[in-house]
Amino acid sequence: MLIVDQVSKVYRLKKRVGLLRSEWQDVPAVNKLSFQIEPGKIVGLLGINGAGKTTTIKMCSTLLEPSGGSISVNGLDVVKQDRQVKSLVNMIAGGERMLYWRLTGRENLVYFGHLYGLSSSLLAERIPQLLKEVGIEEAADTPVERYSKGMKQRLQIARGLINDPKYIFLDEPTLGLDVAIAKHLRKYVKELVQAKGKAVLLTSHYIQEVEELCDDIYVIDKGRLIAHGTPERLTKSLFKESTLRVTLPQISESLAEGLRELMQSHVFSWEVQEAAEEGCELIIRSEADVTSPILALISSNKLPVLKLTSEHPNLEDAIVYLAEGRSA
């Protein structure tokens, strides 16, 4: 279990004032953040740019020390017992850095494996398997500089798994990847968690990814926790209503009468807008799904449906809404 307890991070920066004088400036990045990750779970950390996601991930992976609060991994403190923690965790960031470009994929993995004190025989067994799992076995003996972005990212993931970590921290792992590769990686992460019981902390700007993968989501803004819940709950609690838009040639008197009658039995609101093309648009907002009674009403009025769309709120709307609500 990874426990983040009331963690804060303030970066202290030296700021030049004048030629020789400099003074300290405090940049708060994370503010009294608490969350937990259990083995076999994927936890998402969401927030707009500069919210403090990378800072949090680096604190969990021992690269940064919290200025307040504590983080423990399987009961080990990330500051006091950092060497033991390092063997249990690993971090994977998006992008093409953090690899030796002149070395081959395999050589990179051997090198990083030795940094973890793993024996050559263990590595000889683990590396081909990892290369296969991330799908770059054919390029194993090609220098990394000849890899495509996607291949580098896959190698990055293999590197992050070299010490068979119990906790994996993924910082925008699919940044700049094409849809197919990103999908493959998502599937792989899911398998790791389900089959091997890893615990994952994920940040991403691709909301769909977070919605698809995460069991639990923490939304932060300016380093503070502003919302927490499963993807569905989070969107539902923020946006109760879904919207149904029906384009019709006209709204007849009898249809309007029917709608008024329908409102006795169903809870919804409606309005009419001039449609861009022809006819007009009937907009229905409701908590429960009222699509079928509305359509039945329209067909009993013998009106042709020119266009029909149904919008459910998604997580992306939720995040933007939350962040805007904060700064407003």
Partner: protein, 270 residues
């Protein structure tokens, strides 16, 4: 065992990272050999007789050997300046952060790196120097083990020096500045081509700051002056003290810098 495989993979990494073109051989052999030959010929036009100023400090007949040992030591040390300088690229490439993410023993890493850089960087000139020394035929040793002892002294002090520089360069924004200090001044003050004894007092003080000075002193005593172990014992003692101090400094810099990095998210200390 793990230590050895770490060392071995460090050597392989170093090899891949630096030995990607034949041009490297230029810096491995041609450049040091040219430097050595230039130094020799720049002495030639000057008086070298038994009554010359030079003769007060070294036997003019042993000039070639003097320069050869000097340059051998210099190449060992310079090779590590370069390797340490490469460290700032690891910081930029982000691989540094990955190294610090791992539980690897920091001191072991730093010395493993120095050792592998040395193994790669000096063997060509080393072979050249040994062959040249055999040809000029002026080596004066007390017993056979003076040679392995001299090499051990050179190797150990170079590795310790390299570890110190690696730590220093790692956390400095201004690696170029150190690079400049360590180039020509080390050549002059550490006694590579001029015996430190011939330097004025202020310059002698500076030469004491370069560990290479102590190493070269022992190297020449063992290989050119027929010194027995007892005769070099005081110098060995001083060198050991200097090296211990360097190791201590290296350890302190590494701890401070990692602490600093964890607090500011920045590896650059100064």
């Amino acid at each position: 065992m793990e230590w050895i495989s770490l060392l071995w993979s460090e050597i392989k990494k170093e090899h891949r990272n630096t030995f990607h073109s034949n041009l490297v051989y230029f810096s491995l052999l041609i450049w040091p050999a040219i430097a050595f030959i230039t130094a020799y010929y720049s002495f030639l036009p000057f008086q070298r007789g038994a009554d010359s100023p030079l003769a007060r400090f070294i036997n003019p007949d042993h000039l070639v050997l003097f320069l050869l040992t000097g340059y051998l030591g210099y190449i060992f040390f310079w090779c590590l300046v370069q390797s340490a300088w490469q460290m700032s690229f690891e910081r930029q490439a982000g691989t540094m952060e990955m190294i610090f993410l791992s539980p690897v023993n920091r001191l072991a890493f730093v010395y493993g790196r120095s050792f592998s850089a040395l193994a790669e960087g000096v063997w060509l000139f080393f072979t050249f120097a040994v062959l040249a020394a055999l040809m000029v035929n002026g080596i004066q040793i007390n017993t056979w083990w003076s040679v392995p002892l001299a090499l051990l002294v050179l190797l150990v002090s170079a590795v310790v020096w390299g570890g110190f520089l690696t730590a220093a360069f790692l956390f400095s924004r201004d690696a170029g500045f150190l690079y400049t200090i360590l180039d020509e001044p080390m050549l002059i003050f550490a006694g590579v081509k001029v015996p430190p004894l011939a330097l004025p007092v202020w310059a002698k003080m500076i030469s004491l700051c370069f560990p290479l000075t102590y190493t070269l002193n022992i190297l020449r005593k063992l290989l050119m002056e027929k010194a027995a172990l007892l005769e070099v014992a005081p110098q060995l003692g001083i060198l050991s003290a200097v090296l211990l101090l360097l190791i201590l400094l290296t350890a302190v810099i590494l701890v401070l810098a990692e602490k600093h990095m964890k607090q500011t998210g920045n590896m650059v200390l100064y």
